[in-house]
C-alpha cells in the first residue's frame, strides 16, 4: 500500500491548485453575489483543459485518471463550489455518458467541443415529480419517422442556460418504469426546447440551474445514446461518477472551511487569549480535521477502484454521503468559531455554509446514498431490498 500521489498526479494537483488560487479564489464572492456563472473564468479553465480532463486525448481531452480528476474537483471546490460543480456536471454526467456508451460518430461529434469547453453539457433527468425516484419520470419520447418526439418538463438541470448540449432521459415505453427509459443527446437550441428561468437558491448561486421544457422536440435517431429502453444503465453509471466527483468537491469545501476557522481562531482574542486556546474551539477543529482525513481516504479509495477498473458505486455513495455530511458539519462548526462574524456576508464562511448544504441533496440525497450502501450490504447475503 502506498498512500502517496504519483509524480504525475502531484504535478496535476499543483497545476489545479495554482489555477484555483490565482483565478478562482478572487472571483468566488462576486460569483455568489452576482448569481451569475463566470463565463470568462470557464474559458480560462477550458484553455487549461479542465472541461475535458478525464476525456481521452483522442477526443480532445487530457486523459487524466480518476485520482487526478478528483484532485481537480477538490482544488476547485476549495474556492468556488459553483465552478467546481459546473465542471463536474459537464464532465462526469454529460460528457462521460457520451464517452461511456456513445457510438463513434456521437463521440467524434460531441466530445471534442465539450472537452474544449465550447459546448457545455447538462444532464436532464430530474422532474418535478421524479427526484429520488427517477424511475417514475413522465417525460416521453415517442417514436416518429427518423427519430423521436420529446415532451415533458425537467427540473434542476444544471448548466442548461449556459450549455449547448444535454443528455436527456425520457420514457420510450411508458408504464415500465426504469425498463422503458431511453437517453438522447439534445442540443439546447433545438426547436421545441425552452430553457426556463434560473431558480434562486440558498447557495451554489453561480451554478446555472434551470427548468427545461420539451414540447414536441424532434431528436434524430442518430442522437439516441445507447439502445432504446437502455437508458437506466447510463443513469446508474453517471450517478457513480458524479457521486465520486461531489465527494471530492466536499473534501475541498471542508478543507477550505477548516482553514478559515483555524485562521480566525488564531487571530481572534477573547478573555485575554486567542480563542484557539479554548477547548471548545479545539474540539471543533479536531473533529473537522478528523472528518476531512476520513473523507480523503474514502475519495482516494473510490478513485483507486475506478482507476483499476473495479465497481466503485458503493464506494462512491459512501464517499458522497460521508463527504456531504462532513462538509456541512465542518462549515457549520467553523461558522460557529467565527461567532457573529460568521453570520456576516463579509466573511467567506457563510458562503461555504450556504453552498455545502446542497451537497446533501444533489446527485442523490443522503437517504438515497444510504439506501445504495445498505442495498450492497444486503446483496452480499443474497437479499434484495426496496427503498
Amino acid at each position: 500500500m502506498d498512500f502517496s500521489l504519483t509524480e504525475e498526479q502531484t504535478m496535476f494537483r499543483d497545476l489545479f491548485r495554482d489555477f484555483a488560487e490565482k483565478e478562482v479564489a478572487k472571483l468566488a464572492e462576486h460569483i455568489d453575489r452576482s448569481e451569475e456563472p463566470p463565463l470568462e473564468l470557464f474559458k480560462k479553465a477550458a484553455a487549461q483543459g479542465f472541461f475535458g480532463a478525464p476525456i481521452p486525448e483522442a477526443y480532445g481531452g487530457v486523459g487524466i485518471d480518476w485520482q487526478s480528476y478528483c484532485l481537480l474537483a477538490e482544488e476547485l471546490g476549495k474556492h468556488c463550489l459553483s465552478t467546481a460543480i459546473t465542471i463536474g456536471i459537464h464532465t462526469s454526467l454529460s460528457a462521460m455518458s457520451i464517452l461511456d456508451v456513445g457510438v463513434e460518430e456521437q463521440k467524434q461529434k460531441y466530445l471534442p467541443p465539450m472537452a474544449a469547453g465550447e459546448m457545455i453539457g447538462s444532464f436532464a433527468l430530474t422532474e418535478p415529480d421524479a427526484g429520488s425516484d427517477p424511475g417514475s419520470l413522465t417525460t416521453t419520447a415517442e417514436k416518429v419517422d427518423g427519430g423521436y418526439r420529446l415532451n415533458g418538463t425537467k427540473s434542476w438541470v444544471s448548466n442548461a442556460g449556459i450549455g449547448a448540449v444535454m443528455v436527456v432521459f425520457a420514457s420510450t415505453t411508458p408504464g415500465t418504469r426504469a425498463k422503458g427509459i431511453s437517453c438522447f443527446i439534445v442540443e439546447n437550441d433545438s426547436p421545441g426546447v425552452t430553457i426556463g428561468y434560473r431558480e434562486p437558491t440558498l447557495g451554489l448561486r453561480g451554478l446555472d440551474i434551470r427548468t427545461v421544457y420539451f414540447e414536441d422536440c424532434f431528436v434524430p435517431e442518430a442522437n439516441r445514446l445507447n439502445g432504446e429502453n437502455n437508458g437506466w444503465e447510463i443513469i446508474v453509471r453517471a450517478f457513480n461518477r458524479i457521486r465520486l466527483t461531489l465527494a471530492a468537491v466536499s473534501l475541498g469545501a471542508a478543507e477550505a472551511s477548516l482553514a478559515l476557522g483555524v485562521t480566525f481562531a488564531a487571530e481572534r482574542k477573547q478573555f485575554g487569549t486567542q480563542i484557539a486556546n479554548k477547548q471548545a474551539i479545539q474540539n471543533y477543529v479536531a473533529d473537522a480535521a478528523t472528518d476531512i482525513e476520513a473523507l480523503r481516504g474514502l475519495v482516494r479509495h473510490a478513485a483507486w477502484l475506478a482507476d483499476s477498473g473495479q465497481d466503485f458505486g458503493r464506494a462512491a455513495s459512501m464517499a458522497k454521503y460521508f463527504g456531504a455530511r462532513a462538509a456541512k458539519d465542518t462549515a457549520n462548526k467553523m461558522l460557529q468559531v467565527h461567532g457573529g462574524y460568521g453570520f456576516s456576508d463579509e466573511y467567506a464562511i457563510s458562503r461555504y455554509y450556504r453552498d455545502v448544504r446542497a451537497l446533501r441533496l444533489l446527485g442523490g440525497t443522503d437517504e438515497i446514498q444510504r439506501y445504495v450502501v445498505a442495498r450492497a450490504a444486503f446483496e452480499e447475503k443474497g437479499i434484495r431490498i426496496q427503498p
Binding site: S132, S155, L335, G340, F343, R357, R360, P387
Partner: protein, 388 residues
C-alpha cells in the same frame, strides 16, 4: 401541576397568531428580499400592545409577564424571524434592561412610548474586541459637570439603524473595568455625536437591521443613567439572562413551523409510488423533530414560569437558548432534507428559515457561552468557581 394556560393567555396567542397570519406572514418573503420591515407594521403592532407585552400596565405594558412574552415570540418567529428579532431586541433586551434596574423617573419618561411603539429600543453591548468576552468593552463615559460624555463604538447592534433609544454599556471607571466600573446609559438617537453605520449584510434576518453605533462625545444627562453607577455590567448580564428565555421561545416557533411543513409535505410528495410519509427515513426525521420540540416546549414554558414566580432561572435560561437554537437548526435542516431540492429554492420559505435560524446559535451569547453559564451554575452549587 397544571399544563393548561389560563384563558387570557390562550386569547393572547389567538390574537397574535391571527395578526401574524394576516399581517406578517404574507410579507415575510418581501421582508427578506427587500431587507426592510416597514415602520408602519411596527406601529400597528405597538397600537395592539405587542411592543410592551411583558411589562406592567403602569408603564404602558400589557402586563402579560414572561409567559405572555414567550407566547408572542413563539408566534412571531413562526411568521417572520426578522420581525421577531426586531421585537425581541426591542423588548427582551432593549426595554428590559431599563425596566429591570432603571429609576421610576426614567421608566416613566421612556417606557410608555417604547411600549406603544412610538419609540424603538436597542441594547448596545458588543464591541469589535468584546463579543463572548463582554467584559472587555472599551466604550468610555466621562463625567463632566452634570453630564456624561460617551466616546467609542458598538457593533452588531440589532435595531441599530432604527432605534430611538439605545441602552448602552460604557466604562465609567477604567481602573475597575466592566466589573464594577461600567454603567448603562439611555441614549436618544437624535442626540449630537451619535451616528450609525450602514446596515450589515448578513446571511439571514435580512429584515432585522444591524449596524455599528458611533459615539463621538455624546452628552448624556445624569438622569439617563440606568440603574446604579458602576453596576451596569450586572444589569446587562441580568437582561441577557432573561432574554434567553424568550429567544428559546422564538426558536420553538421556528422549529414547530418546520415540523408542520414536513408533515404536510410528507403527505403530498410521492416517490417510489407512495407518499414519502411511508419511508422510515422520513418518519424518523419527523419523530426526532417532534420529540425535540416537545422537550424544548416544556423547558421554555417552565423557565417562563420560574421568571414570573421570582425563582432563580439563570441556568434554565441558558438551556432554553442552547437547546432552542440547536433544536431549531436541526429541525430546519431536516426540513430542508425532507423537501429535497425544493428546500434550497428561494421561491419557497424553508430556504429563508435555514438562513435565518443559524444566528440563534450565536447571538445573545454564543452557545459556547451558554454551556459555560450552565456549567458555572452547576459547579457553583458545589463550590467551584469557573473562569471562561
Amino acid at each position: 401541576m397544571d399544563y393548561d394556560l389560563p384563558p387570557e393567555y390562550n386569547a393572547l396567542r389567538r390574537m397574535i397568531r391571527e395578526f401574524c397570519e394576516e399581517e406578517i406572514k404574507p410579507l415575510a418573503h418581501h421582508i427578506d428580499e427587500s431587507g426592510v420591515v416597514e415602520s408602519d407594521l411596527l406601529r400597528r403592532m405597538g397600537a395592539l400592545g405587542f411592543l410592551g407585552v411583558p411589562f406592567p400596565r403602569e408603564y404602558g405594558g400589557m402586563g402579560a409577564g414572561e409567559l405572555g412574552y414567550c407566547i408572542m415570540m413563539e408566534e412571531l418567529n413562526r411568521a417572520s424571524p426578522s420581525v421577531a428579532t426586531i421585537i425581541g431586541a426591542h423588548i427582551g433586551i432593549g426595554v428590559m434592561s431599563m425596566y429591570l434596574d432603571g429609576s421610576k423617573a426614567l421608566k416613566d419618561k421612556y417606557m410608555p412610548d417604547l411600549c406603544s411603539g412610538k419609540m424603538i429600543c436597542a441594547f448596545a453591548l458588543t464591541e469589535s474586541n468584546a463579543g463572548s468576552d463582554a467584559a472587555a468593552i472599551q466604550l468610555r463615559a466621562t463625567l463632566e459637570g452634570d453630564s456624561y460624555f460617551l466616546d467609542g463604538q458598538k457593533m452588531w447592534i440589532t435595531n441599530g439603524p432604527i432605534a430611538d433609544v439605545i441602552n448602552v454599556l460604557a466604562i465609567t471607571d477604567p481602573s475597575l473595568g466592566a466589573r464594577g466600573g461600567a454603567t448603562v446609559f439611555a441614549v436618544e438617537s437624535k442626540w449630537e455625536g451619535y451616528s450609525t453605520g450602514k446596515p450589515e449584510r448578513k446571511m439571514g434576518l435580512h429584515g432585522s437591521p444591524t449596524s455599528l453605533l458611533n459615539f463621538d462625545s455624546v452628552r448624556v444627562p445624569k438622569e439617563n443613567v440606568v440603574g446604579q453607577i458602576g453596576l451596569g455590567f450586572v444589569t446587562f448580564m441580568k437582561t441577557l439572562d432573561i432574554g434567553r428565555v424568550s429567544l428559546g421561545a422564538a426558536t420553538l416557533g421556528g422549529a414547530q413551523a418546520a415540523l408542520e411543513m414536513c408533515v404536510r409535505w410528507a403527505r403530498t410528495r410521492q416517490q417510489f409510488g407512495r407518499q414519502i410519509a411511508h419511508m422510515q427515513s422520513i418518519q424518523f426525521m419527523i419523530a426526532d423533530m417532534a420529540a425535540e420540540i416537545e422537550a424544548l416546549r416544556a423547558l421554555v414554558y417552565r423557565t417562563a414560569w420560574l421568571v414570573d414566580n421570582g425563582r432563580p432561572f439563570t441556568k434554565e435560561a441558558g438551556m432554553c437558548k442552547l437547546l432552542g437554537s440547536e433544536t431549531a437548526s436541526r429541525c430546519i435542516d431536516r426540513a430542508v432534507q425532507i423537501h429535497g431540492a425544493l428546500g434550497l429554492s428561494r421561491d419557497f420559505p424553508l430556504e429563508r428559515a435555514f438562513r435565518d435560524a443559524r444566528i440563534s446559535e450565536i447571538f445573545e451569547g454564543t452557545n459556547e457561552i451558554q454551556r459555560l453559564v450552565i456549567a458555572s451554575e452547576l459547579m457553583q452549587e458545589v463550590g467551584v468557581r469557573l473562569r471562561p
